[in-house]
Symmetry: C2
Subunit: 359 residues, 2 copies
């Protein structure tokens, strides 16, 4: 009797990326329940799946709005009839601003900004579109990525947004570091008086991150949460305690193609499939469900180097396995389609419609 | 006046992957001259560019045959009219073997194998195709990836290939580790008597690797060489001395989208563009040509975290830069098209036709 992974490999080839829709639906429901329980609007981040099909499942389960990380993702979601999109990224440059104006003519949008130069560009795009653009100020409360780092900068930027005739100040975008709820709340406390003095209100106070679901609601005044990875989960989420192995809904199906020695092997999934993403310092490049003691210690482009020395029984050439990747969001972005399964059967393919649309 | 990178960003968006065809042609010519000088057939590895357009430039310059790492790459090259393909990978599993048979009906092929189970599958596919398949034995002379590790295994596998009615023993596939020419020559010396005893001859003795161009011809008895990365080069090739900065023909065009502090910035190229490939332990995730002191210290999916503390002058929000990536082969695989430039002008786009075809 064939395993499901063997059926996937036979039908779609190896390597392939498969998802378990039963687990996907359970993960979607769990996120929705967590947001409902915390009194927060659920605005899932579609960068993880890049698929309108899965976004629609999230909306059907209660999500109100979606988050996109790129304009290309927002274009794809809009084209599929999805709306209320928040683009959590500074859109900069003539090419993106022209596309933003075109998209804004089709649908209402919220975008983030962390710099006056970004606000100026957005204002021009919105003016060209002839439709007001909602803008949230991205605040850095400890992650050290993008975002204004001081409350007074947040207030100044909110004022600049409100003063632009084509823009509306819509609120604040936060991506607190793990365990950073207190610092984030303090940042918000410091911003609020300045906003009030300017006669402004943060209608949206958006938090983000799947690991932050642990203390969802701990950021005082938050109105919504953006979680991406929780729809699939991965080794990284297992490592930080945000998911169990049975919550991982996406596997890379791969085949053992070489067994040069008793302790070495090669999978046909390398850095062009699993990606070299270290998952924040994990050991190895994925967890093989059937051979958890096997270590994917190194990758070439089409080779996953296996160290089988700790395995009680080692897989042979031709053995098909399922690998839980370090980081699902980058793995999904390698393939044009996900093989969907449900109840232990293959039910079809789901296009990764926004794959590669990094701009 | 706009820079070329600014023009690319304006016309094609940011991030984009651009190549300089003048440098590409010089790199192709340099590889051809090196192979000619060493008396070796040049069989470039198309995994780096995955593009029939560029493969045809290589053939026009004198390449005899091409190397593919996946069956999907070989299908694309065949579809574009290219021939004499060597697939340097164990093809395993019913899906691949059925496709191999279909491809073999269309064109003559050479594939590698390192295990009797692989040979058995190839024999079935070739029998189904009704056309003989040339098979080379992959030998591991120190890299520790795929390949038989002992000369007597190589001979036994050569015999098994020769005995299969649908297969022809075509020779040996080698991928010597850097500086491994002597060990590889010794391996070959140990294989030859066994082959001779079996009445077999290694018509192909194929070496590979761009860093190994340094001592091209040092493997005694080699007949051909497979080099992939040399068509573009990258930071990894610079680090090992195989290329100079001016030989790097592929850049990621990216834009500074955030400057949260005086020493921090963000590029709109993250792990979904530059990839997390560490390039064999390089510091950072790419070299910014215009700001060589800037360090791309960390990546999120759409964020390249910049440490600008060592820069005499820092780029502003909106500045467009060119990044030499750590590893071009995986970067090319992220995009559907390369923006081609020549003589400082944009001349068009080149499809990465085999992108994502990892099976």
């Amino acid at each position: 009797m064939s395993t499901l992974a063997e059926e996937v490999a036979r039908e779609f080839g190896s390597p392939a990326v498969m998802i378990d829709l039963d687990r996907v639906e359970a993960n979607i429901a769990r996120l929705q329940a967590a947001c409902d329980g915390a009194g927060l609007r659920n605005r899932p981040h579609i960068k993880t799946h890049k698929s309108p099909v899965l976004a629609k499942l999230q909306v059907a389960a209660g999500a109100r709005g979606l988050t996109c990380q790129t304009l290309g993702e927002a274009e794809v979601m809009t084209g599929a009839g999805l709306s209320d999109l928040l683009i959590s990224y500074n859109l900069v440059g003539a090419h993106k601003l022209a596309r933003l104006a075109a998209l804004l003519r089709r649908t209402a949008l919220t975008v983030s900004a962390d710099h006056p130069a970004v606000v100026a560009g957005l204002a021009e795009a919105a003016a060209a579109a002839g439709r007001p653009l909602d803008v949230v100020v991205e605040c850095d409360t400890g992650r050290g990525r993008a975002g204004v780092t001081r409350p007074r900068e947040a207030v100044a930027l909110a004022r600049a947004i409100a003063q632009a005739p084509s823009l509306r100040f819509a609120g604040l975008l936060l991506y607190p570091p793990e365990g950073g709820a207190a610092a984030t709340s303090a940042f918000l406390d410091a911003v609020r008086p300045g906003l009030a003095e300017a006669g402004l209100e943060a209608g949206i106070v958006s938090t983000g991150g799947t690991p932050n679901l642990r203390d969802l609601g701990a950021v005082a005044g938050a109105t919504e949460h953006r979680s991406g990875t929780s729809i699939f989960n991965d080794r990284m989420m297992m490592a930080c305690g945000a998911a169990r192995l049975e919550d991982c809904a996406l596997d890379v199906v791969a085949t053992v193609v070489s067994r040069a020695t008793a302790t070495r092997g090669v999978l046909d999934a390398g850095s062009k499939t699993l990606t070299a993403d270290p998952g924040g310092g994990l050991d190895g490049h994925g967890l093989i469900r059937e051979y958890p003691q096997a270590r994917i210690g190194k990758l070439a482009e089409e080779h996953g180097f296996l160290d089988l020395s700790a395995c009680p029984a080692a897989p042979e050439v031709g053995t098909v396995v399922r690998v839980v990747p370090n980081h699902v969001c980058v793995v999904v972005n390698m393939v044009d389609r996900l093989v969907a399964t449900k109840g232990g059967r293959i039910v079809g393919e789901i296009p990764v419609a926004a794959r590669g649309l990094t701009g």
